[in-house]
């Protein structure tokens, strides 16, 4: 099953590594990712993942990281990319 995650990170050192590492360790394959720093505090990480495991569990595991401000699980890839990225 494929999912798209939007993760708002603090700008703290190691936040990206910590977050991506958790995703892989918990059994999710990272298909693609984008990191943006839209200004202000923090960075926005969007990740497309696949796994047989429950995305809700990964969402809660990510949310408890101190570096993570919030996590949002988007709808399946096709809808999400056309809605959010316009491509």
């Amino acid at each position: 099953m494929q999912h798209n995650l939007q993760i708002q990170l603090k700008s703290s050192e190691g936040a990206v590594l910590r977050t991506l590492g958790l995703i892989e360790r918990r059994g999710f394959r990272i298909e693609s990712m984008t990191l943006m720093e839209p200004g202000g505090d923090g960075r926005s990480l969007t990740v497309k993942v696949t796994s047989d495991r429950a995305i809700e569990l990964l969402e809660r595991q990510l949310a408890r990281l101190h570096d993570v401000l919030w996590v949002d699980v988007k709808k399946p890839a096709a809808n999400w990319s056309s809605n959010r990225l316009g491509n």
């Binding site: 050192e13 190691g14 590492g21 958790l22 809660r60 595991q61 408890r64 101190h66």
Partner: protein
Amino acid sequence: MSLAQESTVELRSGSQLMIEALLRNGVEHVFGYPGGAIMPLYDALVDSGLKHYLCRHEQGAAFAADAYGRVTRKAGVCMATSGPGATNLVTGIANAYLDSVPMVIITGQVPNALQGTDAFQEVDIFGITLPVVKHSYIIRDVSEIAATVDEAFHLAESGRPGPVLIDFPKDVSVAMHQPQAAEPHEQWQPPMADLSEIEKANAMLAKARRPLVIGGGGVVIGNSVEEFRNFVARSGLPVTTTLKGLGAVQTDDPAFLGMLGMHGNEAANHAVQQCDVLVYVGGRFDDRATGKLSHFAPTARVIHIDIDPAEVSKLRRPDVAIVGELGPVLDQLCPEKAGASASWVQQCDAWRKEFAWRYDAPGQGIYAPALLRDLSRARDGIVFACDVGQHQMWVAQHCKFDDPLQHLTSGGLGAMGYGLPAAIGAKVAHPDQTVVCVSGDGSIMMNIQEMATLRRYGISVKILLLDNSTLGLVRQWQELFFEGNYSEVDLSDNPDFAGVARAFGLDALTISQPGEVAASIEWLLEHKGPAILHVKIDPMENVWPLVPPGAANHKMMGTKKAGAW
């Protein structure tokens, strides 16, 4: 600030600021080992008011800090230099992570400018420990020290506790800065338990016919033992615990069915397999507790209570999930006696009697379970710090715990070598308590150098070494599951442990006959100063009962009915 004012402020080094921050966070004792990159911090340590214990390997320092954190519920602190000092801490950090222990780790690091150049004793300890810390920091600027340390302690101790690492580059540790006060930081807010879920749980318990409670390590970590015991007493539910939950109810409590799981008591495992409502408090459905997960409590509706939302549905989807602080939740649970059929209550009672541990083992040698039972009942309140192996399971099965902090064990990681340094940490935290390290001839060699720490500081830890001249638990599995193909488990060429202990400055006694047990227990407990009781036991003794790997919990081997002996 005017120039005139500035000149009156006495600048501090980063290392002094670090020590001040530790003191401000209530730290009294630290465990560690000096070396190149952390020398400025050790320089500032002298006459600082912090009491430092020099362990003889960084792993020992980390395990000691772990145990100190468990028994005080405040972050235990360890420190080491960069490179090998830091990597030697890693097993101890992982141990604290898997058992949710509050710990703050300070590692020296090469100066910022040298990082990334493969400098002498440079390793990326921040990167290495990412999977086994609750959080971690690299302090890049001297101005960040106070805020970082304050937040680190808050994170380590709040919510579900865990280890927090602070990597401290040498240039930061010598940079000068004005004094730093405590800074406000983000405060962890406990999740508010959903009242409707609590009501659902209460309705389920009221209608239950065969209800059961499992107490996990969270009951202990969350300081909710009193609320847990009140809940058990009020509801009238039979109760079992995980390895880490031992002591959540007293061992002799008539409602207690023993520990569940791979080496649990059959009464507990049968009750779990047959219950219809299961209240799992502060546990995480670990595979050593559940056996084959799909066969675990197959007829039960599950009420899972935990402070960590990420534990809900990780392994078993509960029918009711209550996420919140355990104490307040337990106080709202089951305001009256829970529903339970008379036949269930009688059945649990019958199991408890039928599967009560037996100590009439055949054989001429010393029977370790009986020795442990006698030792734990010789005095009230003995703290047991276990190593890992057969002896660890025997402690869990046969020792008496009136309080869960009497039982220190490497539950999640299963790290041989934990016992002796853990005993040191516990004894330093609570010098008035009797602390016994129960070890095996395999485990003791993993951190035997800490005998020097006992001697140096006169730490009166008692070591009970159960010596079967083999890696007993591995040998047992090879016997049972690898057709007796014994591979690398023979330790018959062990050193003379009593002689080794004496060389370290400990007093030692070796026994091998059952008739020597009673007097030697008294010798160990009454001895002034650190001492070791070395007990030779039968190499072929096994830990029974046993749920084979991949089996359901009620399919136990070595049961009394099947003739364990």
